[in-house]
């Protein structure tokens, strides 16, 4: 074995270690993990939220945040568990989905919505009717002996201490290190950090102290799903670097039987109706549905299966297809998003073209949403299947095709993200072109001197830059601009204008790591008074030993400048920790300095919480403000007559107006999407999120790649993140790109558009509609006709509705296929019934 990845995950905090949570004592106090199970259709009550005490729906539910987290007490964890604020919001939303009138209360400390789109999610939760967010510590007081309701005590600013009864209390438990962390560490000879998670290299958070042993997921510390996926892909890329010589040695090519030509046969359809355990069968009458399927035209076989996706069931589909001579298969089960490829494969195994497969979704579209209407759900299952069967009759065999893959990669952006990705790809034997718009590599990191954890960023950056320049496979283009980007997965052609002149670069993959910009504040006298600066400028002055800063008597930091507002509705994620870093640096140099941090929520998630505590213990004062009553900065004089900046704001704890005298005011300026984002997005045909950062293919599951094949992303261009997170994601992007680059060919979908040249009148409407540039005119023997380049076509089908002669058609979604489904949507019986009613009335 050449390498090991440790991904043991985490252990949910056990609230039994602290009696005051009353977990296990009061029946209606549950953990958030228990609550997840209640919400699940495979849970104890098949997805119904019921109380254990009386199996009734709780109408009034409370969440208590930070259970086991952010506490320096016996059994608790000092760090923030990083995920609970948002999962509690999700649970509140789902509770409201189950019961629109439910009353949900979340007792919280800071609300840490620091993740991508989380701020919007927080607002969405907050704006639901009967959802309350209450900033207070809580005590679970008692259980009513009869109703088993639970009383919670909490404090409010205006009404003092209150007690309130809830029908259920959910403890938002934190993330502990894996139970056997120490044993695991001993076995593999790796070190743990002070909280018993893996001890990692600060400039490579997947690397342990032992070469060849990597870590991914929550063993890195409390992290969310996207960061877990970064590190999973990232660890594989690093293993690729180690074991590149062994790549592909154990892979076997799959051989499928030859495809039988069934295009001239009458449709012979087999329908497989899946129970999905109890997911479907507890709602839909499967036997009745199967019998109904047998009555549908062209159906020659119908049966049920407990889990159609199980290996034996999939094999059964293949076997029956061969045995009964089926030429089309419909599986009535779940969403095609996850399992369609698997079922298509069962057809290939049976020697039938995979596009003869059709999926009827009777789970997400049916059993999961009609739990209370079983008869109607059965009827709807029949309707959905009838439509699928109708469509299946018109399906056509389609050919996917192999495209060659150019083995080289282009990386846009030469910051830490771009350089890390470049090295990891180059270390696996691929040529890399690194394009940087500035004269020097390094990006925004050139302005950062320290990390909160104490890394010397400039030394690290120097080393990284040298590795880039020394690597024989990395070609650097500085002062560069991309003038044109064309091509498609495996075969891009990008034109770069740089110090080296104009270069056409051919490459198979592109990684966009264009970084971010920093907001230039227009508020708080920034730009008018040189005592007001951004947190980045403050850091530079600290590093330079500027006396005006280090010798200041009083410094006020204002958080959330330029974000978490209407214009930029997101949290910049970094700034709380950045400000605390600066505060600690200043306290080290000048312990007498008065430092105030004016915040909305302190979002020092994960282990960064320890530094927050350290700053508080060193006398940094944290004062919360509301955006509706933001601080005001004005020049003035201190009591001693010294010129100062007067910072005024309300103090919610003392209930009065505070006035602070500051020598320096530091603004935590927002992280903005790079000004180049839109242009680069248009060049590489990728999309943007609502806040203007690059939009990944899936926010949780595919966070390092775009929906556009062959294009990947990492670093700040995706969303604000810390250096360690950027490095995680950069290796992740390298890992995903290698999955493409290590193959000789890539398969393109058969569902693309095609022109019927006899119908084409060469009006060009389709060409105008296609933003992918997939359609062009060409001179055919019949004259000028539109022609689709199937490689560029993404199968959106917009062109179809522009063609006045129906000459262009999206394969697999042809008019005939779609209309056959529409025609079958209302059953013949239903139509007859309607006509009868109409006749009866007249």
């Amino acid at each position: 074995m050449g390498a090991v990845i440790l991904s043991p995950g985490f252990e949910p905090f056990d609230p039994k270690v602290r009696e005051e949570y009353r977990y296990g004592e009061f029946q209606n106090v549950v953990t958030s993990m228990d609550y997840e199970r209640l919400l699940s259709s495979t849970g104890p009550y098949q997805g119904e939220i019921l109380r254990a005490s009386d199996t009734r729906h709780p109408h009034k539910v409370a969440w208590i945040q930070c259970v086991g987290s952010r506490q320096v007490i016996e059994g608790g964890n000092s760090y923030c568990s990083a995920v609970c604020c948002t999962y509690a919001q999700k649970q509140a939303i789902l509770t409201k989905d189950h019961d629109a009138t439910a009353q949900c209360t979340i007792f919280h400390n800071d609300v840490r919505s620091y993740g991508k789109d989380f701020e919007r999610y927080y607002q969405r939760t907050e704006n639901l009717p009967d959802v309350r967010f209450i900033r207070s510590y809580t005590t679970i007081v008692k259980e009513d002996p009869i109703t088993k309701n639970v009383t919670v005590r909490y404090s409010t600013t205006d009404e003092g201490v209150k007690e309130e009864e809830f029908e259920m209390v959910v403890l938002s438990i934190g993330l502990n290190p894996p139970k056997d962390a120490q044993e695991l560490a001993k076995k593999y000879g790796i070190e743990l950090e002070s909280h018993n998670f893996a001890k990692l290299n600060p400039i490579n958070p997947m690397e342990t102290n032992r070469e060849g042993i990597f870590v991914s997921g929550a063993f890195q510390g409390p992290i969310d799903i996207p960061e877990s996926v970064f590190s999973a892909s990232g660890a594989t890329s690093q293993i690729g670097e180690l074991l590149d010589s062994r790549r592909g040695k154990l892979t076997k090519e799959r051989i499928y039987p030859e495809e039988r030509d069934v295009s001239e046969e009458e449709p012979k359809i087999g329908v497989f109706v899946c129970h999905c355990g109890a997911n479907i069968s507890s709602i839909v009458n499967i036997q009745d549905t199967v019998e109904y399927c047998k009555t549908l035209p062209n159906v020659v076989h119908a049966q049920n299966q407990i889990f159609s996706c199980a290996t034996n069931s999939a094999k059964e589909i293949t076997d029956i297809t061969k045995e009964k001579g089926l030429n089309r298969v419909v599986v009535a089960a779940c969403s095609p998003r996850t399992l369609e490829p698997l079922f298509r494969d069962t057809l290939r195994e049976a020697g039938i073209n995979q596009y003869y497969y059709e999926m009827a979704n009777i789970r997400e579209h049916n059993s999961w949403v009609h739990q209370k209407e079983k008869d109607l759900a059965t009827q709807k299952a029949k309707d959905i299947i009838r439509m699928s069967v109708a469509r299946a009759c018109h399906l056509e065999p389609l050919q996917e095709f192999d495209l060659p893959v150019d083995k080289r990669a282009l990386i846009v952006g030469g910051g830490i993200a771009g350089m890390t990705t470049a090295l990891s790809i180059a270390n696996q034997g691929h040529e890399v072109f690194l394009v940087e718009k500035e004269n020097d590599l390094g990006g925004i990191a050139r302005k950062i001197h320290y990390t909160l954890e104490g890394l010397d960023v400039q030394a690290y950056l120097k080393d990284l830059t040298q590795q880039i320049y020394k690597h024989p496979l990395v070609h650097v283009y500085t002062n560069a601009a991309i003038t044109q980007a064309t091509g498609y997965v495996g075969n891009f052609l990008t034109t770069v204008k740089s110090d080296r002149g104009v270069t056409d670069i051919k490459h198979g993959a592109a990684i966009l790591a264009i970084g971010a910009d920093v907001y230039t504040p227009t508020e708080y006298l920034y730009g008018e008074d040189d005592r007001v600066m951004t947190h980045l400028e403050l850091e530079e002055k600290i590093a330079a030993g500027d006396e005006k800063v280090t010798g200041a008597q009083s410094l006020v930091m204002i958080q959330c400048v330029g974000c978490r507002n209407e214009e930029r509705n997101y949290c910049s994620r970094l700034c709380c920790s950045e400000s605390i870093k600066n505060a600690l640096l200043l306290k080290e140099r000048n312990p007498e300095m008065d430092i105030y941090m004016l915040f909305r929520d302190v979002r020092t998630y994960g282990f960064k919480e320890d530094y927050y505590r350290e700053a508080a213990s060193k006398g940094v004062r944290f004062i919360r403000y509301e955006p509706t009553d933001a601080p005001v900065v004005k020049p003035g004089k201190s009591d001693e007559g010294k010129p100062v900046l007067k910072v005024t704001l309300p103090d919610y704890v003392l209930g009065k107006k505070l006035e602070l005298d500051a020598d320096i005011v530091a603004l935590a300026a927002a992280v903005l999407p790079s000004a180049a984002t839109k242009e680069v997005a248009a060049q590489f045909k990728v999309t943007l999120s609502p806040d203007g950062f690059f939009k990944e293919a899936h926010v949780k599951l595919r966070p390092v790649e775009f929906a556009t094949d062959g294009v990947y992303l990492c670093g700040l261009a995706h969303y604000p993140k810390f250096m360690a997170e950027t490095i995680n994601q950069a290796y992740g992007a390298a890992g995903r790109a290698l999955t493409l680059l290590s193959h000789e060919t890539v398969v393109a979908s058969g569902s693309v558009c095609e022109v019927d040249e006899d119908k084409c009148v060469s009006c060009g409407a389709c060409i105008t509609a296609c933003t992918y540039g997939a359609i062009e005119f060409y001179e055919s023997p019949k004259g000028r006709k539109a022609k689709v380049n199937p490689v560029l076509c993404k199968g959106d089908g917009l062109c179809n509705t522009k063609c006045a002669t129906n000459a262009i058609m999206l394969k697999h979604f042809t008019d005939e296929e779609v209309i056959s489904e529409i025609d079958a949507a209302v059953s013949d019986e239903e139509i007859m019934r309607q006509i009868d009613t109409a006749v009866g009335e007249s």
Partner: protein, 212 residues
């Protein structure tokens, strides 16, 4: 596949095949999964089709488009429940509109036949120029649009309906006007146009118009 693939023909087909309402769920505007922003095209199609079905006497609320992301189950549920409620209020297609099954079928068929023309006109003249939802709605409520709509689609629809009506048997101008809910002078204008195009002719013996 993008919602932009939804063809006016699909909408009409659903109405012809027994649907009392047609609901289109699409991605949020300006949050395109592709780079095509095809949902703006769908919105355009929906606004135009609402106008057309209203013109042929159907309640335009029978066609609805709502925007939502794949993560917004609540929006989907609310939208569909609300739409179903609305359609239940309106009852079966044609009922509140007081259209006979025969007349309904003829009207839908006429529009369906016109789809290639509708596509052309939509592309050339009936498109909002600014990509915002407000701009699309404003455009479809403008006098400019009404003028083009009357000049193009309304005339074609009238002629189409007259022709299909006359296929069932010769009629007088007044009879046609009564059946189509038009004024005799409008009918006469359309008859002139369609006579010139040799679609219909005046049968001197019957003193009625017939298909040529």
């Amino acid at each position: 596949m993008c919602s932009g693939r939804i063809d006016p023909a699909f909408v009409l087909r659903a109405f012809s095949k027994g649907a009392d309402g047609v609901f289109i769920g699409a991605c949020h505007l300006s949050e395109c999964n592709y780079i095509t922003h095809g949902n703006y095209h769908t919105l355009n199609m929906v606004l135009l089709m609402k106008k057309i079905i209203e013109h042929i006497g159907l309640n335009p609320e029978r066609l609805r488009m709502n925007f939502m992301s794949g993560a917004e189950a609540n929006v989907f549920t609310e939208s569909v429940n609300d739409f179903v409620k609305k359609i239940k209020e309106l009852g079966p297609l044609g009922k509140t509109e007081e259209l006979s099954q025969k007349s309904l079928t003829r009207k839908l068929e006429t529009v369906t036949k016109l789809i290639p023309y509708i596509r052309l006109v939509e592309r050339e003249r009936l498109r909002a120029s600014v990509q915002t939802e407000e701009a699309y709605h404003a455009f479809f409520e403008s006098d400019e649009l009404n003028r083009i709509f009357n000049e193009t689609i309304v005339e074609k629809l009238a002629i189409g309906q007259i022709v299909s009506l006359l296929k069932e048997g010769p009629l007088t101008t007044a009879e046609i006007a009564g059946d189509l809910g038009l004024t005799p002078s409008e009918v006469s204008k359309h008859l002139n146009t369609s006579s010139r195009q040799k679609l219909v002719r005046f049968d001197e013996n019957l003193k009625r118009y017939a298909v040529s």
